[in-house]
């Protein structure tokens, strides 16, 4: 159960190797979370979580939506009520590669969007039944206004962001909550070799913002916060200008 000061007891991380995901889990454990379930494609490679009383590993394939429900139930069986569920799986991929291999693009979108839809719905079902708990959806500013430079990835995030908002409204009043997180460019393994965009952040900074959002019960978290104002402008830029955005 989440306590009065926002500390939680149990966490399910899907995509057990995600830097952002693990950074969130680390902070939640530091704040008192005792039980962690890490679900990933290859549980053997999952890094240790320091300080948690219980860490459970599950096998999980983001690209197989028919298995997502079982993963959520298996996690609940291991640790009881799930206080926070964080689907943190996804692939970035370059636009050039997708242009060259449209099938790969479709597969990436199936994970980045479709995978989150099935996982999000299964997770929300569980949280509704419990009458409490938060689903953390890692969206991106890439989906707030999709850019030419990464429109395959951006369009999946746009879909995900819309899905998460709709889901949040759908579960309103059930005790379950959905928190949408919109980081900008995150410097980390996923973006290795790319030059950071303005207002970029680290996985640790994203995690700090997520934990603060969980405490305050925020519905949307921008990381850094300044991106919110920036994208209020970006969203209304004329198409002719937007098209010329370098990246």
């Amino acid at each position: 159960m989440k306590n009065a000061l926002g500390s939680v007891d149990t966490v399910l991380l899907l995509g057990g190797r995600s830097e952002i995901g693990l950074a969130i889990v680390e902070r939640l454990v530091r704040d008192g979370a005792r039980k962690v379930v890490l679900a990933s494609r290859d549980p053997g490679e999952t890094p240790p979580v320091i300080g948690a009383a219980e860490v459970h590993l599950l096998e999980f394939d983001a690209s197989a939506p028919e298995t997502h429900g079982e993963v959520v139930e298996a996690a609940a069986k291991l640790v009881g009520d799930l206080d926070v569920i964080i689907p943190a799986f996804g692939v970035l991929g370059s636009q050039e590669a997708y242009d060259a291999d449209p099938v790969a693009a479709a597969r990436a979108v199936a994970v980045n969007y479709g995978g989150h839809v099935s996982m999000g719905l299964f997770a929300a079902r569980r949280l509704r039944e419990q009458g409490h708990g938060t689903l953390v959806v890692l969206s991106s500013v890439a989906g707030i206004r999709v850019r030419r430079a990464n429109f395959v990835y951006g369009s999946a995030k746009a879909g995900l962001d819309g899905f998460a908002q709709g889901l949040g409204d759908a579960v309103h009043g059930s005790g379950a909550r959905v928190m949408v997180v919109r980081p900008g460019f995150v410097v980390g393994r996923m973006t290795k070799g790319m030059s950071p965009a303005p207002l970029s952040s680290t996985p640790g900074q994203v995690a700090d913002a997520v934990v603060a959002g969980l405490r305050s019960g925020a519905e949307v978290v921008w990381v850094p916060g300044a991106l919110r104002a920036m994208f209020a402008v970006m969203r209304v830029l004329p198409r002719a200008v937007w098209r010329r955005m370098p990246r």
């Binding site: 159960m1 306590n3 000061l5 009458g131 009043g173 059930s174 005790g175």
Partner: protein
């Protein structure tokens, strides 16, 4: 489906709420419980998540209001859902008073037993459970069982936070009173040591005592307090023409339905504390009504809303006599941190009851409320938990909304004993609450 919180208005969860009107209806609802279980709820005055049950069933027991008084002995048989307020309204005019009342009259008899509540007379009369002669429970199988202080289940239920069965009726001993007034002495103390000395030396002269501490006073005035102590007044002490057993408490103010977060800040609370300290002029033999003396906060309806949407946490601990250093350490730290606590109350406890999860023990108890939005509060309170544990003390479950399961196990050494009895009484785990989940009870 209803969103529920405790009095502190933190950590809301959703549950189905049913309002049974009889113990038969309670039994039927318990029998039909889903795997998310059932927990009884009274007037929602526990500060944390004790009367919440996310995804499950919450029994609003305020419909169980039958009661009777044996006027020759003062034994009251009361439905679990009747409030101490309603009981007082009926009993005081007949010359009887409840054995123990907490700082609010708006708690139910069931809640008073489940939390084993204490009042200003703890040093003399112990807690509510000490005055209960029998309890009737609806058990996990939907059956009915009456237990007395000779039964283990009785002492697992007193202080058991509603997790051993649904209390539907309690029989308890009331105390005779000549008047509905209290003869009160008010004293101001210079600092914490002076407060402790005065209470130690002279508390036993009074049936009811409490100290309000100005936490924002610092330096030499750290721990300065207003001691309010009194006894039921006799008829001879009342001014002529006073109706001796009149009891008509009024709520005079209503808190606004919303208040901004941060309305209670160091500035406003310091001003309030200063005013309170100055207003409390030393006096002896003041004649006060029951309401203002026992339940000053009931004067403002819905005062918990003043803390804004973030809500607040109550931190109440007890440390045994001899561990005054821990009390001092916590008070200095609170003062140094400038922690905003609207009403900080210090009380000297007498002997506890045999309730396995009952809070009071001989020692000092300090209760404070703090806005939940305060930065760094979680860490500060965890640190206090450690100090309280080292001192052999504990936190009060009816107030708690944030402690850890590990801390609970250290603070309540009889937890396993309680669990064993609970497990026997409730083999299927029917009785569950958010508090029970959070603390792995």
């Amino acid at each position: 489906m209803t969103l529920l919180t405790g009095w502190g208005r933190t950590a809301p969860t959703v549950a189905r709420v049913a309002r049974p009107r009889s113990s038969e209806e309670v039994a039927e609802l318990v029998r039909r419980a889903s795997e998310r279980g059932v927990v009884p709820r009274g007037l929602g005055r526990a500060y944390g998540d004790a009367a919440q049950n996310a995804g499950g069933l919450v029994l609003d027991c305020t419909g169980l209001t039958t009661w009777s008084l044996d006027e020759s002995t003062g034994l009251v048989t009361a439905g679990a859902g009747i409030s101490l307020h309603d009981l007082m309204t009926a009993l005081v005019s007949k010359g009887w008073f409840v054995p123990v009342t907490p700082g609010t009259r708006h708690v139910t008899v069931g809640g008073a037993v489940a939390a084993d509540v204490h009042g200003k007379n703890h040093h003399v009369d112990s807690s509510f459970g000490a005055h209960v002669r029998s309890l009737t429970l609806v058990t996990a199988d939907g059956g009915s069982r009456t237990v007395t202080p000779a039964d283990e289940l009785f002492w697992a239920t007193v202080g058991g936070m509603g997790l051993t069965g649904v209390i539907v009726e309690a029989v308890f001993q009331c105390v005779p009173i000549e008047t509905s007034r209290v003869r009160v002495d008010v004293e101001r103390t210079r600092d914490l040591d002076h407060t402790l000395e005065t209470m130690t030396a002279t508390d036993d002269r009074y049936r009811y005592t409490v100290a309000w501490i100005d936490l924002l006073a610092s330096g030499a005035r750290l721990g300065r307090s207003v001691l309010t102590r009194g006894d039921h007044a006799s008829r001879a002490e009342l001014p002529r023409g006073t109706e001796p057993l009149a009891f008509a408490p009024r709520t005079r103010l209503k808190a606004p339905p919303w208040a901004p977060n941060g309305l209670l800040n160091p500035l406003t609370v310091r001003a309030f504390n200063e005013a309170w300290y100055r207003k409390s002029r030393p006096a002896t033999g003041l004649i006060q009504e029951i309401g203002p003396f026992f339940h000053p906060l009931d004067f403002v309806e819905g005062w918990n809303r003043v803390y804004g949407s973030n809500g607040f946490v109550q931190y109440q601990f007890v440390v045994p006599f001899g561990q005054e250093a821990t009390l001092r350490r916590i008070v200095s730290r609170l003062s140094a941190e400038g922690v905003v606590s609207f009403l900080t109350v210090l009380k000297r406890f007498g002997p506890g009851t045999p309730g396995m999860l009952s809070f009071p023990m001989p020692g000092w108890t300090l209760a404070l409320d703090i806005p939940a939005g305060r930065v760094g509060l979680a860490r500060l309170l965890r640190e206090f938990d450690e100090w309280v544990m080292e001192a052999g003390g504990r936190l009060y479950l009816a107030k708690d909304s944030r402690m850890s399961a590990q801390a609970l196990a250290t603070m309540y050494p009889r937890l396993d004993e309680w669990r064993k009895i609970r497990d026997e009484a409730d083999q299927g785990g029917v009785f569950r609450s958010d508090l029970a989940r959070r603390l792995a009870l």
